[in-house]
């Protein structure tokens, strides 16, 4: 066998060995996997409906009073941990915290304006799991200018309160 043939055999053997070794080294006894997840911001009410009476006392507005008639109630909310909520009233399209909007109470014939305000009394959420309820206070106010000349009647309105997480 000539030297050239032997050299070719040697080169071929080395190449084969390299390929085989390469396949072997390309494999490994360990692997790493990156794992990821995202938790979004969210807020939801967890109570309601609620009712609120705007009054001076005894469920009545005193038309001779010079002071505002007021009322309040609460709703429970939960938010993603550390996330603050903001509110909308009757789908105005603008969320805020606190949020105030003038709504119109009616007896079916006569109207009376009232200011409704929603405040996140408890602040930021601590999660949306059980037991994480926070308190939102809904307050109502009617000024003497608005009830002073109102006809005697029961005035009411259903108000829809929206909630979302502050981005």
């Amino acid at each position: 066998m000539s030297m050239r043939i032997l050299k070719n055999i040697l080169v071929g053997a080395l190449a084969l060995l390299g390929l085989l070794a390469g396949e072997a080294f390309a494999q490994a006894t360990s692997a790493t996997v990156s794992v990821s997840a995202v938790v979004p911001k969210a807020c939801r009410f967890y109570s309601g409906p609620a009712s609120m009476t705007i009054e001076h006392s005894g469920g009545l507005i005193d038309p001779t009073s010079g002071s505002n008639a007021t009322g309040s109630t609460t709703l429970n909310y939960r938010c993603t941990n550390t996330v603050l909520p903001r509110f909308d009233i009757d789908s105005s399209g603008t969320f805020a915290s606190p949020k105030t909007r003038t709504v119109t109470l009616t007896d079916g014939t006569n109207n009376m304006p009232a200011d409704v305000t929603v405040t996140a009394t408890s602040g930021a959420g601590t999660g949306l799991g059980a037991g994480q309820d926070k308190t939102a206070t809904i307050s109502g106010l009617i000024t003497p200018a608005n009830f002073g000349s109102a006809s005697p009647a029961t005035y009411s309105k259903d108000v829809i309160i929206g909630i979302e997480a502050i981005p």
Binding site: M3, L20, A37
Partner: protein
């Protein structure tokens, strides 16, 4: 200077030596690492679906890796283990959130190998229970799992 020439006999010896080394190389590889993650399966990434804290369902994510045991019978005795960079070996743990969520988000890890012959697929299945993230702070979370096979 006189140049030394390799004799044909010496060349033959060398060729045989490499051939023997190649054969031993396989034998040695099998002896110390019967099962391995195949090329292209030594790294990977997997993302959970968005963790909605409102409804907080159990969520699952999975990734498939290619593995090889030679001889194939070693799949029966192969031990597949894992460690979590943020956790341990009983549960993985995702770290992150803004601000950082101190407990992290725990997740379960399952390993299943399927197929036949020396080349098979390893499916890594990860699951987070709803209660483990419903109170987590918002933001991105991550971990690195290291999988190990013996022998």
């Amino acid at each position: 200077m006189k140049r030394l020439r390799t004799s044909p006999a010496a060349i033959r010896t060398t060729v045989c030596g490499y051939a023997l080394a190649a054969a031993l190389g396989f034998g040695t590889g099998n002896a110390f690492a019967a099962c391995q993650f195949r090329a292209g399966s030594t790294t990977g990434s997997v993302a959970f679906p968005v963790l909605d804290p409102v409804t907080a369902p159990n969520v699952t994510a999975a990734i498939t890796l290619n593995v090889r045991c030679q001889p194939a019978g070693d799949f029966a005795v192969a031990q597949w283990t894992w460690t979590s960079a943020n956790g341990g070996t009983s549960t993985g743990r995702l770290a992150g959130g803004t601000p950082a969520y101190a407990p992290g988000i725990a997740y379960a890890v399952g390993i299943a190998v399927a197929g036949s012959g020396p080349n098979r697929t390893l499916t890594l299945t990860l699951q987070i229970a709803g209660p483990d993230y419903t109170n987590a702070s918002a933001g991105s979370y991550s971990d690195v799992l290291t999988l190990q096979v013996t022998p």
